[in-house]
């Protein structure tokens, strides 16, 4: 009886040993797998000064710096927009690349894709489809992963510029506010009376697990140079 009890104890002890060891191995594998993916998701595009910009975009940026730049104006409350307010006569479909975001302070050039599902966010910055497109007279919302395109977003400060190049032109925004809000905050994606660029990502940046907050940059349009045909 005693012997049987001892055998049972030994057997149970082995089971616990195997289970705990297996759990640890599973955990280590999960950590390795996650770290490999986090490291592998490099920023999609590198930044360089104008020389590396595509010719037309470089030209546009130079114009922005000159006095020709058109200052942004407050939104017109008229419900019927003039035809020359139509920057994008054909609206994008989700998954379309609509332009690029240039962050001079971080020396980054990042592609912008229409849509904010995982498919789009894997490719770059996602444009929230229920917001206006960059350059249009309202709140344009961009989102990206904290561990890929926006891993350095926390380094930006108020006053830094964000430049969005699209086929409609080049639109320069200046960061006017930085906020940290709950992920369910409903005061960020709202209409505005002038052209605003809202950039969001998860926060804290290195939180292990599902980040509970969002890091928000709010930038106002300060200059725009439209493509000749828009």
């Amino acid at each position: 009886m005693n012997k049987r009890h001892t055998e049972h104890k030994v057997k149970a002890g082995k089971q616990i040993y195997i289970i705990s060891l297996g759990t640890m191995i599973m955990g280590i594998l999960s950590i390795s797998w996650a770290l490999i993916h986090i490291q592998a998701q490099a920023v999609p595009a590198a930044y360089s000064e104008n020389t590396d910009l595509f010719p037309i975009q470089a030209d546009l940026r130079n114009i922005v710096k000159s006095s020709i730049a058109v200052p942004a104006e407050a939104g017109d409350s008229s419900s019927i927009p003039p035809q020359d307010d139509i920057l994008y006569p054909i609206r994008p479909l989700e998954g379309d690349v609509i332009g690029q975001l240039i962050i001079p302070a971080l020396q980054q050039i990042l592609p912008i894709i229409h849509g904010t599902d995982e498919d789009e966010l894997e490719e770059g910055i996602g444009h929230f489809p229920e917001s206006v497109l960059p350059g249009e007279n309202n709140n344009s919302v961009l989102s990206g992963h904290r561990d890929t395109v926006f891993s350095k977003l926390g380094q930006l400060e108020i006053g830094n510029k964000l430049i969005v190049d699209t086929s409609a032109g080049s639109f320069t925004y200046k960061i006017s506010a930085i906020r940290i809000v709950d992920k369910d905050d409903k005061t960020i994606i709202v209409p505005t009376d002038h052209a605003v660029l809202t950039v969001s990502t998860c926060y804290p940046f290195h939180f292990i697990g599902s980040a509970p907050d969002r890091y928000i940059l709010i930038a106002d349009l300060i200059a725009e140079v439209r493509s000749p045909t828009t």
Partner: protein
């Protein structure tokens, strides 16, 4: 004592694994409804009874009374092809029923008169369709019906806003009965109960059953295996910068390749109106009237266009757009040789009763709320465009001069096309209309071929109010957390065991 640790380990393991599942972002769950080899079958049954039944697609059974009239397919009788499809059907039913519902209905629900958005609808009992039901939106619909499904004679499953029969799945556990003259859209998947189909039914989808399917005499009935139509593949409106490009490619170019759009008739010059309308400050007077030669009295100066047999490229010259609210002008295009076939949607939707008439995406048990009144952004004599509180767009359009007609209304919202069958007046509700500033082009093609083209209506749809911040979490940090928890847990258990030893 050791057993206690074993139990503890099991509990922690289960907890951790559950936790890691919960932590994964919702976007990671993607519905991939796959019928496998059963997808090629229009009619699949263990026991098949058909009477004057036409099927475009394959048919298969273990026993059947007669072979249906088959086009674009073959009949497979108790062979390997049938059994492979039968197995795939079973897997598809299991998969469909395993999806987490987005809308929980009630037993005995009546979908008649409802407008339903894409989602997973779960009904714990019987479902009736006593009147037309509208499915709106280009995404997947799965109806998990634990009881029976019954349609009333003459009812229709209507599709709007890009809803497609290929994306609709009716997974019925009980008996399914489609009454006579039902126009049914979607694939009806049945595992263990009989399916009965009445006479003169039109099924744009599939009847796939692992039990008996009976078509009642004398027929006829038609089944057409649906094919998914892609969104109009318009050129990306905003071109990504291309290094080799010397000049920017503007979004305004008429990049809509007519051959690629799902509306064949877009190849006609009419869609050329999608070109950017030159900005002009000249208001457009309400002058050009779309009145055929024997015109009825009209208030404004009339320019009757003789109904010649020669198609007129009505849109060769873009019409200047108004900068102030003016009555939209409409141009009559004499009967063209190529009227638009309504092929974008498998079954053209009929005029919607309007936003107030039927609640959207609400279970049948919920009574209609107070009618939502749109805030009109643009009001012209014939076209009104407004936004509902929930962000949906409403377009209220009518033919000039009280003309009575039926035909196909086309709405082009910045290159995104919407079609609807209707009469001379239509109220069309569009979920997820494009946001931003663009033109809405409206055209009406009557069944006799007459085309009315309205002046472009510029609208400015604002950013949504109170939008949910996008989920920007990748699953990797969640996996990292799970891994850390597992490692710690394993380490602690091991450490405790060593201590005991």
């Amino acid at each position: 004592m050791k057993l206690k640790y074993l139990g503890l380990t099991a509990i922690v393991l289960v907890f951790t694994l559950s936790f890691s599942r919960i932590l994964l972002p919702a976007s990671a769950a993607v519905i991939d409804m796959n019928l496998g080899s059963a997808a090629t079958f229009g009619l699949l049954a263990k026991t098949m009874t058909t009477v004057e039944t036409s099927v475009s697609g394959n048919t298969g059974a273990i026993t059947q009374t007669v072979i249906p009239h088959i086009t674009n397919g073959n009949n497979y009788l108790d062979d390997s092809v049938y059994h492979a499809a039968d197995i795939d059907l079973g897997n598809a039913i299991v998969y469909a029923n395993s999806q987490v519902p987005t809308v929980n209905g009630t037993a005995g629900a009546d979908l008649g008169g409802e407008i339903l958005l894409p989602g997973i609808y779960n009904y714990p009992g019987a479902v009736n369709i006593s009147a037309d039901v509208t499915l709106s939106g280009d995404d997947i619909f799965i109806f998990q019906i634990a009881g029976t499904l019954d349609t009333t004679a003459g009812t229709k499953i209507l599709l709007t806003d890009g809803a497609q029969a290929c994306n609709i799945y009716w997974v019925v556990n009980g008996a399914a009965t489609l009454a006579a003259n039902t126009e049914f859209n979607g694939s009806l998947l049945s595992q263990s109960s009989a399916t009965t189909v009445g006479i003169n039914t039109i099924i744009n989808g599939r009847i796939l059953s692992q039990d008996a399917v009976t078509f009642t005499g004398p027929g006829p009935s038609n089944i057409t295996v649906p094919a998914c139509v892609q969104e109009p593949p318009v050129e990306p409106p905003v071109q990504p910068p291309v290094p080799a490009t010397a000049t920017p490619v503007p979004a305004t170019a008429t990049q809509v390749p007519a051959t690629a759009t799902p509306v064949p008739a877009t190849a006609t010059p009419v869609l050329a109106t999608a070109t950017p309308v030159p900005a002009t400050a000249t208001p457009v007077p309400a002058t050009v009237m779309p009145v055929p030669a024997p015109a009825t009295p009209v208030p404004a100066p009339v320019t009757p266009v003789p109904a010649t047999a020669t198609p007129v490229p009505a849109t060769a010259t873009p019409v200047p757009a108004p900068v102030t609210p003016v009555p939209a002008t409409a141009t009559l295009v004499p009967a063209t040789a190529t009227p638009i076939p309504a092929t974008v949607m498998p079954i053209p939707a009929t005029a919607m009763p309007g936003p107030a008439a039927s609640p959207v995406n609400t279970p049948a048990t919920v009574s209609p709320a107070e009618p939502a009144v749109p805030e009109w952004m643009v009001e012209t004599e014939w076209i009104k465009v407004g936004l509902l509180p929930d962000g949906d767009m409403v377009i209220d359009a009518k033919l000039p001069d009280h003309q009575e007609d039926t035909g196909l209304w086309n709405f082009d919202l910045g290159g995104k096309l919407y079609n609807i069958e209707g009469t001379e007046s239509v109220k069309y509700r569009i979920a997820k209309a494009p946001v931003g500033t663009y033109n809405i082009l409206v055209r009406f093609t009557s069944h006799n071929g007459t085309v009315f083209k309205f002046e472009a209506v510029p609208v400015s749809v604002p950013t949504v109010t109170g939008g949910q911040l996008p989920a920007t979490a990748t699953p990797w940090y969640n996996l990292l957390l799970s891994g850390a928890l597992l490692t710690i847990m394993g380490g602690v258990i091991l450490w405790r065991r060593k201590l005991r030893e």
